[in-house]
């Protein structure tokens, strides 16, 4: 096996990603070639260095803090959901009021139109105070 091919395979060798047959071929080469042997030794040292480094401990409150954050999110989502539902109900109610108002208006309007507007109907209209009267009453 040629040096460049061996060098290309060394990282797989360190990671244990070569077949037994390939491993034998690489080992045979390394035993004879000082250059590739040095590369392999350094690679193994670097692997040991990597593995010797510890990770600091996780804060003991990590789980509690994380769950508190998720709980807060879940609560906000619930609230947002109920507000949306409420919002929808209000809109529905407002729509209903307008629709009823319109329907009543149409019924009255058609009533007035059908008999040409009797004096009795006009008398009803006369009982509704004008804006000026409303303001005068308020003083």
């Amino acid at each position: 096996m040629k040096c460049h091919k061996v060098k290309r395979l060394l990282s797989r060798m360190v990671a244990g990603e070569v077949s037994a047959e390939l491993q034998r071929a690489i080992t045979d080469h390394i035993n004879l070639c000082a250059n590739c042997r040095t590369d392999y030794e350094e690679l193994k040292q670097e692997q040991e260095l990597l593995l010797s480094a510890d990770v600091p401990g996780l804060s003991p409150y990590f789980v509690t803090r994380t769950i508190a954050r998720v709980q807060e999110l879940a609560r906000k989502k619930r609230e947002a959901g109920s507000w949306l539902r409420l919002h929808w109900l209000w809109r529905f109610a407002a729509g209903l009021v307008v629709a009823i108002g319109l329907a009543v208006g149409i019924v009255i309007g058609t009533g007035l139109g059908s008999n040409g507007g009797t004096s009795a109907d006009l008398a009803v209209l006369n009982t509704i105070p004008s804006i000026e009267e409303l303001f005068a009453g308020g003083e």
Partner: protein, 185 residues
């Protein structure tokens, strides 16, 4: 059945229904591993904790989209990888290898001092690698994943993973060369 006896996928399906206790058990179960992985990726404890917490928040929010094709841990680590790769620390990063000695460390007993130097060296070396190479190396060395598994987690081909690892090892050697000359390795 108590939560700690349930499998990940059982806990996941409960959590998807909004069961926070099941989710809490998942957090309890996988936080140390997720944190260690992210710490290797970003090299700072506070950053790693922040990112790990963010990963859990995203996991909670994305639980409905988790189809269970890969294991929960793989899926969680993918979230962690994305966060770590896109992360830019606001903290000061020392560039020089000569700065690796922690302040006052000379007064510590020899073995503790050596261990701290090694840890700083590793941190520095990993941070010096491009994100994709660093990810593949951390998954290989610390998570013990095979090339095939790394390929699955990273969404790459085995060939691409092999190439990333060859370049990572080569890069590592270049970065560690000054320390080797100083006899620190």
């Amino acid at each position: 059945m108590t939560d700690d006896l349930r499998t990940d996928s059982e806990l996941v399906s409960s959590a998807r229904q909004g069961d926070l206790r099941a989710f809490e058990e998942l957090v309890r179960r996988h936080s140390a591993g997720l944190f260690a992985f992210i710490y290797r990726m970003v090299g700072n404890r506070d950053d790693a904790e922040e990112l790990a917490q963010e990963a859990w928040v995203r996991a909670w929010q994305g639980l409905k989209g988790f189809k269970g094709k890969s294991g929960f841990k793989t899926w969680l680590f993918r979230i962690g990888i994305n966060l770590a790769i896109n992360f830019r620390s606001r903290r000061k990063v020392h560039e020089e290898l000569s700065e690796i000695m922690p302040a006052g460390a000379e007064n510590e007993p020899g073995t503790i001092y050596q261990q701290r130097v090694r840890e700083e060296l590793v941190k520095k070396a990993l941070q010096g690698l491009p994100p994709a190479q660093r990810t593949a190396l951390v998954l290989s060395v610390y998570e013990g994943l095979s090339y095939q598994e790394i390929a699955r987690v990273m969404g790459k081909s085995v060939r691409a993973v092999d190439s990333l690892l060859v370049r990572a090892r080569w890069g590592l050697r270049q970065i560690l060369e000054p320390a080797r000359k100083k006899g620190l390795i």
